[in-house]
Every structure is written in structure tokens, then in C-alpha cells.
């Protein structure tokens, strides 16, 4: 029989037996063997593994003194040399979940398999979704033993190099990747089964976790519009007639710069839209300014509503653009505007 794997367990101050909320600032410390719920973990591991130590820390300590906490926990991991780290489960406790996530990352940095457990909406997941492997739990600590069982099983699977199946099958919180699968039933059969189950109040499993885009903190407001330098950007596919740079009508990976010096308005003779996602007849035969209101902005500039217009117009096509391309293009444009002390941007999307 092979040697039992060495497992280190991470618990917060409450489950680690130090105290309740009043001990939330307890520093990182080590207890010997399995502690509290760790005993259920040991039972789940059976002969396959031994909980050699339990790292305990206060939730507030870990989330507020993160650098010190990580240093201390890291040192303990280096000393204990575990094969597997099990953190939590944290259920829906957000600070605990974040701490568990950090501990898992520390372990993974050291090449150690790490598994945690928490509720799908826990802050630990929302912050570190793609970096941790978390068993999906409910919000109730009464699930402790079965959760630890799932965590142990998953950890051994990963340690053995086994490939994990889909999140819904293996019971972990989705990590952000989506992959093709071959179902046993046709799509419309699955849809009707899901519908009838839902109506009957029976369990069902959606095939998609709706994840949100990144949160972008808003920029501070312009203090004085009259004194502002404004840049113009459009994803309406506007290009000089003839499309000299060959801007594509969809899935663009590039934006192009066009000079606005001495240009007071976009004319139908000089401009066109190559956007492939809507009818561009009005822009191309009546007025391109509808997709980039240069005429109006210039008029406002003359009347002092803004100080001036940035002399370069940034143009791309917003039609099925890959999110990563959009991020990159936005970053590049922002970098130039920032260097040139532009105060604000008008971005027209069609």
C-alpha cells in the first residue's frame, strides 16, 4: 500500500476552535493533526491520507493583513510539505471564502494540490473564480461532513492526475471555462425535460452559469466641461470613402486613426460605413455624423461648450468583436488619450 498522502487543513478561527467573532483578528497559527471538522475530513480520507496539521487564522486577520497572513501561511506550508491542502468549507461566509481562496493559491504556487468548498456566490469565487477549485456547497454548515467528503474525493482525483469532468457533474463551482460536450439527448429533448422539471418543482441543472463582465470602476467626472479636451471614438465602421485601411465589417481586431484637423463635419462624399451588422444606407447616403456627431461637437466647440476636439478620430467596427480584442483596442486608445491629457471621450456604438 502506498503511503497515505499528507493533508493540511485550513480553518478559520471559529471552526478552528479559537473563538468566535471576537477572535476574527487571530493571527495565523498551526495546530497539530485534525481539528474540529478536520476530524470529518480525516474520516473521509480514511487510509488514503493523514491530516498532518491544521492552519487556523481569523477571518479579519487574513483579509485585512493579507500580506502578513500569506507569508505566515506560506511558511507553514513550506515546513509541512503537504501533498494536498483542503481549505474550509466556507459555505457563504465571504471573508472566510476569500481566505480559503488565498490559501489555495499559496498552495498551488508551491505545486501543491488544493481544494476548497464554498457557496457559488461567495466572494472567494467571485474574486478568484478561475484560480481555485471549489466544491459547490449550500449555505448551511450542517452540510459540513458531506462537503468535506466531496472535497477530499476531488483532491485525490486531481492529485492522481485525473481530468475533471464538467462542473455540474463533478460538483465544483464553474471556473469560467466552457467546453464542448456531447450530450446523450437532443437539445430540444433536454429543453423540454428541463421545462417540465422546473414546472413540477423537481431538480434540474441549467447548462449555463451566467457570468458577468468585469466591473470597471468609473472615471472621475470632468471638473470643467468648458475647458475640456474631448476625443471622438466610434464603432460604427466609419472610414474614408474607399476604405483605404480595409477596415472589416465584422470581427474587427483593429481600429484606425483618422485626422480631424480642419474637418468640421463628416460628409457623405468623403466618408462611408463598412459596418456589416445593420443597414448603413442612411450613414452612406444622408449623413455619417449620425454615427459620430462631429458637426455638432465642432459647433459646441465654437460656442465654448468644450475647449477643443482631440485631432484624431478612432474608428472601428463593433460587430461580433471578440471581447479580448475589444479590451485590447480600448486599452490602446485609452493609453494614447491618457498620454495626451484628454479629459473625456464620446464613444458612439451602433
Amino acid at each position: 500500500m502506498t503511503n497515505p498522502i499528507r493533508v493540511v487543513h485550513y480553518l478559520n478561527q471559529f471552526f478552528g476552535g479559537i473563538g468566535a467573532e471576537e477572535q476574527a483578528y487571530a493571527p495565523v497559527q498551526l495546530k497539530d493533526g485534525a481539528v474540529g471538522p478536520g476530524r470529518a475530513l480525516q474520516a473521509a480520507l480514511g487510509d488514503e491520507g493523514t491530516v498532518v496539521g491544521t492552519i487556523v487564522s481569523g477571518d479579519n486577520y487574513f483579509t485585512e493583513e493579507t500580506e502578513s497572513a500569506k507569508a505566515a501561511a506560506g511558511e507553514l506550508l513550506d515546513r509541512l510539505k503537504p501533498d494536498v491542502v483542503i481549505a474550509g468549507p466556507a459555505f457563504d461566509a465571504g471573508r472566510y471564502g476569500l481566505a480559503c481562496a488565498e490559501v489555495c493559491r499559496l498552495a498551488q504556487d508551491r505545486g501543491v494540490t488544493a481544494v476548497t468548498g464554498m457557496f457559488a456566490d461567495n466572494a472567494g469565487v467571485l474574486t478568484y473564480r478561475s484560480e481555485i477549485l471549489a466544491v459547490s456547497t449550500g449555505i448551511d454548515a450542517s452540510e459540513m461532513a458531506p462537503s468535506l467528503q466531496k472535497m477530499a474525493r476531488l483532491a485525490i482525483k486531481v492529485l492522481n492526475g485525473e481530468e475533471l469532468g464538467p462542473a455540474s457533474v463533478e460538483g465544483y463551482v464553474p471556473r469560467g471555462a466552457r467546453r464542448p460536450v456531447a450530450h446523450g439527448q437532443l437539445g430540444y429533448e433536454r429543453a423540454l425535460d428541463m421545462l417540465t422539471a422546473r414546472i413540477a418543482g423537481k431538480p434540474y441543472e441549467s447548462e449555463m452559469l451566467i457570468s458577468n463582465y468585469d466591473i470597471v470602476p468609473p472615471a472621475a467626472p470632468i471638473s470643467d466641461a468648458d475647458d475640456s479636451l474631448i476625443a471622438l471614438v466610434s464603432s460604427g465602421g466609419l472610414v474614408p470613402r474607399g476604405n483605404p485601411d480595409r477596415l472589416v465589417g465584422a470581427r474587427s481586431e483593429h481600429f484606425y486613426r483618422y485626422p480631424l484637423d480642419g474637418v468640421d463635419s463628416l460628409s457623405v462624399e468623403d466618408w462611408e460605413s463598412v459596418h456589416g451588422g445593420f443597414g448603413t444606407l442612411i450613414l452612406n447616403t444622408k449623413d455619417p455624423n449620425y454615427a459620430m456627431p462631429l458637426r455638432t461637437v465642432r459647433s459646441l466647440e465654437t460656442r465654448g461648450a468644450i475647449k477643443s476636439v482631440y485631432p484624431t478620430f478612432f474608428s472601428t467596427t463593433g460587430n461580433g468583436t471578440a471581447v479580448s480584442s475589444a479590451r485590447r483596442m480600448g486599452g490602446e486608445i485609452a493609453a494614447e488619450l491618457s498620454e495626451n491629457h484628454v479629459d473625456g471621450v464620446l464613444l458612439v456604438a451602433t
Binding site: P174, A177, R179, P180, I210
Partner: protein, 431 residues
């Protein structure tokens, strides 16, 4: 409504001297069919070819795909309202259909219309037709059309018509062939007769609706264009339509929107739901929502009206589907949201966006009410499409169509399967 569906299976199409169906074989007179097509002076050249399952054949330049069917009893005509056909309400009486086969008109599409509007893909850089074809064998033979005997009508126009005009010729040709072929079954005993009696309801079962969101071509080509999916021949942007499911079985909703064809709209989810009527639920109706409205207020209004129709119909569950991604997907999300807010259990079935290695969300836009989703994947195909012996769809297909074609990475605007109604087993799951 109650509809009897008489099915005549077609295991093979054989060339002969007449048009006749007998015991699973459809005999056709290819010359007669070509003559019929050439009756229209706007057609300069036509050819009839058959693509069979398992053939080393690739079909290209499909303009639509339909199952041949005609009314044998009851009012109206199948595929009503298009090409001057009657707009009488269908879905009752009896319909004869040739199953396991399709009619596929194949032709190149002109780029412009008389008013200067350009068709999809005409804008530089988009080569959507390069990923739209049907392989009849090999690892890429994954669509339902790899399993049907496909009668391909390859056509070339006289002169240089506008896109809309040529599209009308294609449609009317397709329907002439439909009427001729399906008409050959009139008076014959059907090997299979199914009765869809949707008037009979079981009060113990829940009422459910099918809510397809279908793009209209009006925003691009005007209200009267034929380049749209139609309801009784009307493709323009309208408020939602409430149809009986049997009306859809008779082709009340038909017409290609770019590469989104007729067949999947009516031959997949709808017959399946009809077959479960009285067993798992009462199939109360189909609410057709038009998309491609140009302002958010309009999109919201249509979603609200769709939900109201669902409430008025007394359903407690709905399946919402979509077609074509992009900003018109917003109608779909708003419809799901409105239905859920009205207290109706709603399933969304859709293709999804490219995951971009875990950095991009699966839907362009979403809402908290979109909780229950069936995904039919990104539309991509992981395998290489092998070289083929035959290419059907052009008088002289370009050489590259015969060669090996690379795998297709599914993403917005790049879907090979176009599986919006769940006809396949492919999907995506979270990892």
C-alpha cells in the same frame, strides 16, 4: 386545432420518366423539373442533383431548406402567404409530407438591392458563405441534412438581378417543386398517419408555449423585402404573433434569413412538442417575436406583449429560442425576462458566444432572470472536413470546395450548425 399529418418516407430519390412516390422511393423526372424551373424567364440555367446520406458530397450555396408538404384536406396551402400563395389559416385538416428528404435551392446571391442596400456578408471581410455548406459524410456530417435525401435545385439568374428579386425567384421555384413532389402523394395511402389534436386539453397538465424570436429583414431591406423569415408571408417588424402549433407544422412561419433556413424552425422542436401534447403538457401555442427593432423601447414593448400573450394563453411554462446573434439577441433576453417576471417558467435555448479561453461570457447580454439555459454550443466544428468527390450548388464549383476544409471555431457570425432549435446533441458546459 386538429391536424392529421400523412407521412410518406423517402429512402431514395431515383431518376425516371415521371414524378411518383412508391414504397419509400420518390421517382422524379429531372428534365421535367428543370423545365418547370425554366418556365420562369428570370432563370437562365438550372440543374437537379441529389445529395444522399453517406455520399462523398458537399452541398454549397444553400438558399433555403424545406420538407415537401401539401394540404390534402382542409383550407389553405402549405407555406402560406409567400409567392402569392393563399393566406388562409392553415393547421387543420390533413397535410401530406415527404419525410426524410428536403428540397434545397442552391444559387449565388447578388450583393445589392435596388435601393442600394447590401445583403449580409457583402461588407468587406465577412466570408460567411465559406463556412455554410452541408457535408453528407465524414466527421463534419453533423446536421440533420446529412441524414436526409436532399433534392438540390441549382440555379443561375438571367442577367444581373437585384438580391431581393432573385430571392423571390428562388422561393417561388422552391415552392413549385414542393407542390409537384409532395403533390405526387395525393390520393395515396400514407404509411404513417399522425393526428395532432391540440384542442383536447388535460387540465391536470401544465400549459406551455414555444416562443421563437425570429429576425426580420425589414431593418436592412425594408418592410416588403423577401429577404426575411415570414409569418404568412409577412416578414416586416410586427408585434408578436400567436399561432397554433399546427399552423407552424404547415409552414406558416417560413423563409430564410441569411443562412438561417426554414426547416429547423418547423421540423424540430415544434413536432416534438406536439408529440408530447397530452402527455407531459398541453402545447398551448407558439408566440412568434420579431427581432431587429432599432430602438430599445420597441424591443422592450415586443417582449412585454409576448409575455402578455403568454399570460392570456394561460401558460405556466415557455421555451424561448432565438436566431442570429448580435444586438437582436437583446429582444430574446428581454422576452425571457418579461416571461419570468410574469411568473412563467422559462427555458432559453440558444447557441452561445466564443468563450475566448474563459475570458468572455457565453451570452452577449443577459439579465438576472435568465436562469435556465440549454446551450447547443458555439456552432463550431472541431474536426477537419475531408476532401469530397462531388460538390453540388454551382454550375462550376470552385476548386477549393472539393478540398479538405479546416475546422470551424464557433463564434459570433461563424456558426456552421446554426442549431437554434436543439436538433443536435452537441452542447457546452461549464468547467
Amino acid at each position: 386545432m386538429k391536424l392529421e399529418m400523412a407521412s410518406f418516407p423517402v429512402n431514395d430519390i431515383v431518376l425516371g420518366n415521371r414524378t411518383a412516390w412508391s414504397d419509400g422511393k420518390l421517382e422524379i423526372n429531372a428534365d421535367e423539373l428543370v423545365d418547370l424551373v425554366m418556365q420562369d424567364p428570370q432563370v437562365a440555367w438550372a440543374d437537379i442533383q441529389v445529395a444522399r446520406p453517406g455520399d462523398s458530397t458537399r452541398v454549397i450555396r444553400m438558399r433555403d431548406i424545406i420538407q415537401p408538404k401539401v394540404k390534402s384536406e382542409g383550407q389553405g396551402t402549405t407555406y402560406p402567404g409567400i409567392s402569392g400563395r393563399s393566406v388562409d389559416t392553415v393547421g387543420q385538416g390533413r397535410t401530406n409530407r415527404l419525410t426524410d428528404m428536403t428540397i434545397i435551392p442552391c444559387a449565388d446571391m447578388p450583393r445589392v438591392n435596388a435601393d442600394g442596400s447590401q445583403i449580409w456578408g457583402a461588407a468587406q471581410g465577412i466570408a460567411s458563405r465559406e463556412i455554410n455548406f452541408i457535408d453528407m459524410s465524414g466527421p463534419g456530417a453533423v446536421t440533420p441534412f446529412a441524414e436526409t435525401v436532399n433534392l438540390c435545385v441549382v440555379m443561375e439568374p438571367e442577367g444581373q438581378p437585384y438580391a431581393d428579386d432573385w430571392n423571390r425567384v428562388i422561393r417561388s421555384t422552391m415552392l413549385k417543386i414542393n407542390d409537384l413532389l409532395a403533390g405526387a402523394t395525393l390520393g395515396l395511402d400514407a404509411p404513417q398517419l399522425d393526428t395532432f389534436d391540440l384542442d383536447r386539453r388535460d387540465d391536470a397538465l401544465p400549459n406551455v408555449a414555444f416562443v421563437p424570436v425570429l429576425a426580420s429583414g425589414e431593418h436592412r431591406f425594408g418592410p416588403r423585402t423577401s429577404l426575411s423569415t415570414d409569418v404568412y408571408g409577412v416578414g416586416r417588424l410586427t408585434q408578436p404573433w400567436l399561432l397554433q402549433p399546427t399552423e407552424m407544422l404547415d409552414g406558416a412561419v417560413s423563409g430564410a434569413y441569411n443562412e438561417n433556413f426554414t426547416w429547423p424552425i418547423m421540423e424540430t422542436l415544434v413536432p416534438y412538442m406536439c408529440s408530447r401534447h397530452g402527455i407531459d403538457f398541453n402545447f398551448s401555442g407558439c408566440i412568434v417575436v420579431r427581432s431587429n427593432w432599432e430602438s430599445q423601447a420597441e424591443k422592450q414593448l415586443m417582449a412585454n406583449r409576448a409575455a402578455q400573450l403568454a399570460v392570456d394563453t394561460g401558460v405556466t411554462g415557455a421555451i424561448v429560442t432565438t436566431n442570429v446573434r448580435g444586438q437582436r439577441f437583446l429582444e430574446t433576453v428581454l422576452t425571457v425576462q418579461a416571461l419570468e417576471r410574469a411568473g412563467i417558467n422559462t427555458i432559453l435555448m440558444t447557441e452561445e458566444e466564443d468563450n475566448e479561453n474563459g475570458t468572455a461570457p457565453p451570452l452577449l447580454v443577459s439579465a438576472p432572470e435568465v436562469t435556465t439555459v440549454v446551450s447547443t454550443g458555439t456552432g463550431g466544428i472541431d474536426a477537419t472536413f475531408p476532401a469530397v468527390k462531388n460538390v453540388i450548388g454551382a454550375r462550376e464549383p470552385e476548386a477549393h470546395w472539393f478540398e479538405e476544409l479546416p475546422p470551424i471555431h464557433g463564434r459570433y457570425g461563424v456558426s456552421h450548425t446554426h442549431d437554434y432549435y436543439g436538433f443536435g446533441k452537441q452542447g457546452y458546459l461549464d468547467y
